[in-house]
C-alpha cells in the first residue's frame, strides 16, 4: 500500500510544499535563492566582513586603485598586501601614495579593527580579515578607495545593509497595502472594487519618479539619517503596491468561485475568516513570487533616488550613495573602480528576478 501512502503524503503536502518541490527544479532560481541568502548574510555580518571603518577618511589614500592580496611569496603561502609609501609626483609636485613592494603587511583572519556592534548589540572589534601592523594609512584596498580615501570594499559591504533592508521594509509596507486593498477589491467587488481599481489606474498612469523626487526633495534637511530612512522607505513602498494589489485581487476573484470557498461560505464562516483561513494560504506562494518580483523595483528606486541625491544622505551608506560618487565621467575615467558599486546592484536585482520567476512558475505551473 505504499502507493496510497505516497498519495496521502502528496495530498497532505499542501500548496507551499508542492510549490517548493516544483521550485527546486528551476536550477537558476535555486542558485538565485542562494545568492539572495548570501547577500542578506553579508548584510547581517556587514561590519564583521568590512576591513576598514567605512566612514574613516584619509586624504593621503584618496583614489587608491584596487589592491590584490598576494597569496604567495618566496616563503610559500603567505597572504599579504603591500604597505603604502608617499612619493612626490615629478610633474605636479604633489604627494602621491603608491604601494611599496618592500613593505609586506600580513593579511590575517579575525583581526582587531574598528569597534562595532555585532547584530546591533554585541560590541566587538573583531573582523573576518584584515592587515596587522602597518601605519594608519595602510590597509587592504580590495576594491580601491574613493576621493576621501574611504575603503570601497568596506563601504560596499556596509551599504548592503541599508540597500537590502530598505527594499525589504518597503516591500512589506507595499504588501500590506496591496493585500488589504487588493483583497477588499477582489472579495467585495462592486463599487469598492471599482473605486480601488480606478485609484490604481490613476496611480499607474502617473510618471512616479518626478513625483517622488518632489516628495523626497521636500524632506527637511534637519532630519536624521533614521528619519530619512523611514521616509524614503515609505515613499518607495507607495510606488510598488499597485502591482501587488493587482495580483492579490486577481487571485481573490479566481478563488471566490472555487468550491472550497463556497463550501466555507455555506458552512457559515465569516468573511474575514474565509479570507484569512481559506483564501490567503492558498495563494501564499503567489504572494511570495510577487514580492520577489517587486523587490528589484524597490531596490532600483532607492538606488535611483539616492543617486540623484534626493534619497538617503551621507553619512548613510547605500549603493545609490556610492554610485553618486561615480556620477562624473572625469572622475570615473581616473577611478573606474568606483563603478564596481554597480555590480552588487545588478547581481541582486538579477537574482531576485530569477527567483521570482522560478517561484511564480512553481506557484502556478499552468498560469
Amino acid at each position: 500500500m505504499s502507493g496510497s501512502l505516497a498519495d496521502e503524503r502528496l495530498a497532505e503536502a499542501g500548496q507551499l510544499r508542492l510549490t517548493w518541490w516544483r521550485f527546486k527544479r528551476h536550477k537558476l532560481a535555486v542558485i538565485s535563492l542562494f545568492i539572495v541568502i548570501l547577500f542578506y548574510t553579508i548584510a547581517i555580518f556587514a561590519d564583521f566582513l568590512a576591513t576598514a571603518d567605512p566612514h574613516a577618511t584619509d586624504a593621503r589614500r584618496s583614489y587608491m586603485p584596487p589592491q590584490g592580496i598576494h597569496l604567495f611569496d618566496e616563503n610559500g603561502f603567505n597572504p599579504h598586501v603591500y604597505g603604502l609609501k608617499g612619493q612626490r609626483d615629478m610633474k605636479t609636485f604633489k604627494m602621491v601614495y603608491v604601494p611599496d613592494p618592500s613593505r609586506k603587511l600580513q593579511v590575517e583572519f579575525f583581526v582587531k579593527g574598528y569597534e562595532y556592534d555585532l547584530f546591533g548589540f554585541i560590541p566587538t572589534t573583531r573582523h573576518l580579515f584584515g592587515v596587522v601592523g602597518g601605519t594608519p594609512v595602510d590597509g587592504v584596498f580590495l576594491l580601491g578607495t574613493d576621493q576621501l580615501g574611504r575603503d570601497l570594499y568596506s563601504r560596499l559591504v556596509v551599504a548592503t545593509r541599508i540597500s537590502l533592508s530598505i527594499g525589504l521594509a518597503s516591500v512589506t509596507i507595499s504588501l500590506i497595502l496591496g493585500v488589504l486593498l487588493g483583497g477588499l477589491s477582489g472579495l467585495y467587488g462592486g463599487i469598492i472594487d471599482t473605486i480601488i481599481q480606478r485609484v490604481i489606474e490613476v496611480i499607474r498612469s502617473i510618471p512616479t519618479i518626478p513625483l517622488w523626487m518632489g516628495v523626497a526633495a521636500a524632506l527637511p534637511n534637519t532630519w536624521t539619517v533614521i528619519q530619512v530612512y523611514f521616509a524614503i522607505t515609505l515613499i518607495i513602498s507607495l510606488i510598488g503596491w499597485t502591482e501587488l494589489a493587482r495580483v492579490v485581487r486577481g487571485r481573490f476573484l479566481a478563488l471566490r468561485e472555487e468550491d472550497f470557498v463556497i463550501a466555507a461560505e455555506l458552512a457559515g464562516a465569516g468573511q474575514m475568516r474565509i479570507m484569512l483561513r481559506h483564501m490567503l494560504p492558498s495563494f501564499t506562494s503567489h504572494i511570495i513570487a510577487a514580492v520577489s518580483l517587486a523587490l528589484p523595483a524597490m531596490i532600483i528606486s532607492e538606488t535611483s533616488l539616492s543617486f540623484l541625491g534626493l534619497g538617503l544622505r551621507p553619512p548613510a551608506i547605500s549603493w545609490g550613495i556610492l554610485l553618486q560618487d561615480a556620477q562624473n565621467v572625469q572622475v570615473l575615467a581616473g577611478a573606474p573602480w568606483l563603478l564596481l558599486a554597480a555590480v552588487p546592484v545588478v547581481l541582486v536585482i538579477l537574482a531576485f528576478n530569477f527567483l521570482g520567476d522560478g517561484l511564480r512558475d512553481a506557484a502556478d505551473p499552468y498560469g
Partner: protein, 330 residues
C-alpha cells in the same frame, strides 16, 4: 464604444486632477510658504524685501487664505497658462522650461517606438521557438536588461565612450546647434543624437515587453483556435501571425500605456547622467533649490502629457480590438 471613450476620458480627467493635487502638495511641502523661500533666496543674493512687501506678496498669491482656496487660485491660474515665476531664474516658468518639455517627450516617444520594434519580433520568436537557444539567449539578455537600472547603463556607456573613444556621448545636440534657433539642420542634428539615449531608456522596458509578449503569445499558442486554424490547412507561419500573434498584441499594446509613464520617469534620471537638455536636470535643480513653482510645473506637465499619451494608446487599443470596440469591454 462611446461609453468606453467616455470612461477613458473621465479617467484621464480624474488622473489629471489627482496629479494637480499631488503637485500642489509638493509645492506646499517644504516648510514655510513660497514667500519665505523667496525671501531666503533673495537674501542669499544679498537683496532684501520688507515685511510689508512680503505681506503684499502673500495676499497676491492668496497665501493668507485656506489651503483649498490656494489650490483653486493656483489651478485656475495654471489652466489659464500662468504657471508662476521661477525663483531661481527670476523668469516665468514657461520660459525657463521652453523646448525642454518637448525634448523630453521626443526622447520618451523614441524610446517607446524602439521598445515596440525590438520587443515585438523578439517576443514572437521567443514564444514560437520556446526553449530554443535563441529563446534562452534573449531571455538571458532580457533578464540582464531588467537588472541594469537605466541610469547605470547610461553611466557605463558614458565611461566607455570617454575612456575608449575619447568622446562625450551625452547631449542631444552638437555644440553648434545647442543654442541655435530651430531649423531643419538642428532637427537633423537632434535626430542623429536621439538613438543613444533612446536605447538606454528603452533597454529595461524592452526586456519587460519581450517577456510580456512571450508570455502572452505562449498562452495564446496553447488555445484551441490555433489548432482550428492549423486544421484548416493554413501554412504554419500564417497561422501564427494571423491568430495568436494578433490576439497577443492586445495585452501587449495595453501594457504600453504603463510603459510610457515609466519611460518618462526614466528619462529624468537618464537625462541627468547623459546631460540631455530635457526637463530632468532642470527638475532636479529646481527641487534642490526648492524652486517649487518650477518643480511643480514640470511634474504637472509631465504627468498631464503622460496621461494624454496613455489616452491615445487606449484609443488605439480600442481601434484594434473588436470586442472592445463593439461591446465596450473585453
Amino acid at each position: 464604444m462611446l461609453m468606453y471613450i467616455a470612461r477613458r476620458l473621465a479617467l484621464a480627467v480624474v488622473t489629471c486632477v489627482a496629479i494637480s493635487v499631488l503637485t500642489f502638495i509638493i509645492i506646499r511641502l517644504p516648510p514655510g510658504d513660497f514667500v519665505d523661500a523667496y525671501i531666503a533666496n533673495l537674501a542669499s543674493t544679498g537683496s532684501n524685501i520688507t515685511a510689508d512687501q512680503a505681506q503684499a506678496m502673500r495676499v497676491e498669491y492668496g497665501l493668507d487664505r485656506p489651503v483649498y482656496i490656494q489650490y483653486t487660485l493656483w489651478i485656475s491660474r495654471v489652466v489659464g497658462g500662468d504657471f508662476g515665476v521661477s525663483m531661481m531664474w527670476r523668469r516665468p516658468v514657461t520660459e525657463v522650461i521652453g523646448d525642454r518639455l518637448w525634448l523630453t517627450m521626443i526622447v520618451s516617444l523614441s524610446a517607446l517606438f524602439l521598445t515596440w520594434i525590438i520587443a515585438l519580433p523578439i517576443g514572437i520568436y521567443s514564444a514560437v521557438r520556446q526553449y530554443s537557444i535563441g529563446d534562452y539567449f534573449f531571455t538571458m539578455v532580457g533578464f540582464i536588461g531588467l537588472a541594469i537600472p537605466n541610469f547605470l547603463l547610461a553611466l557605463i556607456l558614458m565611461y566607455l565612450g570617454f575612456r575608449y573613444l575619447g568622446l562625450s556621448v551625452g547631449g542631444l545636440f552638437s555644440a553648434e546647434y545647442a543654442q541655435a534657433p530651430w531649423s531643419f539642420a538642428k532637427a537633423w542634428d537632434l535626430f542623429k543624437h536621439i538613438p543613444l539615449p533612446a536605447c538606454v531608456l528603452a533597454l529595461a522596458g524592452t526586456a519587460h515587453q519581450i517577456r510580456i509578449m512571450r508570455a502572452n503569445l505562449l498562452d495564446e499558442l496553447r488555445k484551441p483556435y490555433v489548432i482550428t486554424a492549423r486544421a484548416k490547412g493554413i501554412p504554419e507561419r500564417r497561422v501564427i501571425m494571423k491568430y495568436p500573434v494578433r490576439a497577443a498584441l492586445n495585452p501587449f499594446a495595453s501594457s504600453i500605456a504603463y510603459v510610457f509613464p515609466y519611460l518618462v520617469s526614466g528619462s529624468i534620471i537618464v537625462s541627468l547622467v547623459l546631460g540631455l537638455p530635457t526637463v530632468g536636470p532642470l527638475l532636479l535643480q529646481a527641487l534642490v533649490a526648492q524652486d517649487m513653482f518650477l518643480a511643480g510645473t514640470i511634474v504637472l506637465l509631465l504627468g498631464v502629457m503622460t496621461v494624454v499619451g496613455t489616452l491615445i494608446s487606449d484609443l488605439l487599443l480600442m481601434w484594434i480590438e473588436p470586442r472592445l470596440r463593439l461591446t465596450g469591454h473585453s
